[in-house]
Amino acid sequence: MQNRISSQQLAFLLFFLLLGSSVIYVPEADAGRNAWISSILAASIGFFILAFMLRLQLMFPGISIFKIAELSLGVIPGKLLNGVFLYVVFAITILSLGDLILLLRLLFPYAPLFSLRTIVMLTAAYCLYKGVTNVARLAEVTIAFIILLLTLGFLVPVNLVEFSNLRPVFSDWLTMVGAVIYGANWPYAQIAVLVLLLPMVTDLEKGYFKAVTWFIIAAGILTLRTLLVLAVLGPEMTLINAFPLYQVFRLAEVQTFQRIELFFFALWFTTVYMQVLIYYLGFTIGLKELFGLKNYRSIILPAGLLVVVMSIYIISSDMYFLQVLTPASIPHDLPLNLLYPIIIFAAASISYKKVKSKLEPSPSSNTAEQTM
């Protein structure tokens, strides 16, 4: 099992995580006409989190954040904080799986939920068994396909755009500011899980700017998506539709082609599946780091089983998922996704020398003999 990735692969994983399930929704839809401005402001919060994550890893190259937390905060407080972060990663894995199942129900409305969840998690487990390097290669292989579909996706409904739906700009600044939190929580703060993969990046010092570049590209795409959906559907229809971007493609017409939205289903399925995969990977790596295991291979299937069972147990219906779990995930997930890297960074900065000395190997006891 290979566990090394390049900074370019990390950047692609970050891109997929940002697009994830949020590309088909518009999390900031509550802001109405100004949702695209909320999207830009939410991206700045995500950039803030990314900056702390990268800076922390550059201070301690190759060292897991869980270990840094234990060394800088103390073993017990560090493990407690790591455990709480891992719980949030687990919760988001379940929510991501819920998003994917909701999307698949559009194509397979009569498929048993048990079967869909099991098939998704077993295929994800297979990907994890192949190793982190192969998961990253999967992202590399599919990125071109996704970029192509995104480009086509933004061009197809262009004739339906009405810029009057975007005016007046800055009309309701209070709702615009309030909706920033929705976008910040999903998808931007969810990049915090990548902090568990950063120790595996071989060339982070030289290549960290690639992650920054692809973050900006993803943020641009998400803002463009918001603009497109608002311009085509208008603020009211954007808010009431469960899948606004899907609705945009249902309205689009290209010659005599019908059901164009199904063509773009490949885009959405790929990005959401990659999000589930990355979170599943983060959860198993987190378990390995928290309990000090040699590798995470042996807990892939138990972790997958736990995610499937708990998603069935918790998500009792689509309405419960959309009306309770999704909005309540903001106070549940955002504080820790935002604060965890910051707290560890602050603690590690304060006790930098102490942590560095603990990480450095002790001098050999035979040096005196060697000099003789």
Binding site: A31, L293, K294, P302, V324
Partner: protein, 78 residues
């Protein structure tokens, strides 16, 4: 649900059982077994329509008033 529990457990034993015993990785085996045990307990509770176990969704429900207060303050549509 029973099929899911049994199939995952069977796959785990098939793929990892031998290596765990051979390498004497008792920590990994114990953690794996513990996670499977939790899944089994929740799975059986689900099959029996019981609500005896802590429901993680209830934490989300308890946070809903905070979400509603936030939406109300920023005049966001609920």
């Amino acid at each position: 649900m029973l099929v899911i529990l049994l199939s995952f457990t069977f796959l785990y034993i098939l793929l990892e059982g031998r290596d765990l015993l051979h390498n004497k990785s008792w920590k990994e085996a114990l953690l794996g077994a513990f996670i499977i045990a939790i899944s089994m307990v929740y799975g059986i509770d689900y099959m029996r329509d019981g609500m005896a176990l802590p429901h993680p969704g209830h934490l989300f429900e308890k946070l809903m008033p905070l979400v509603k207060a936030y939406d109300s303050f920023f005049k966001l549509p609920t």
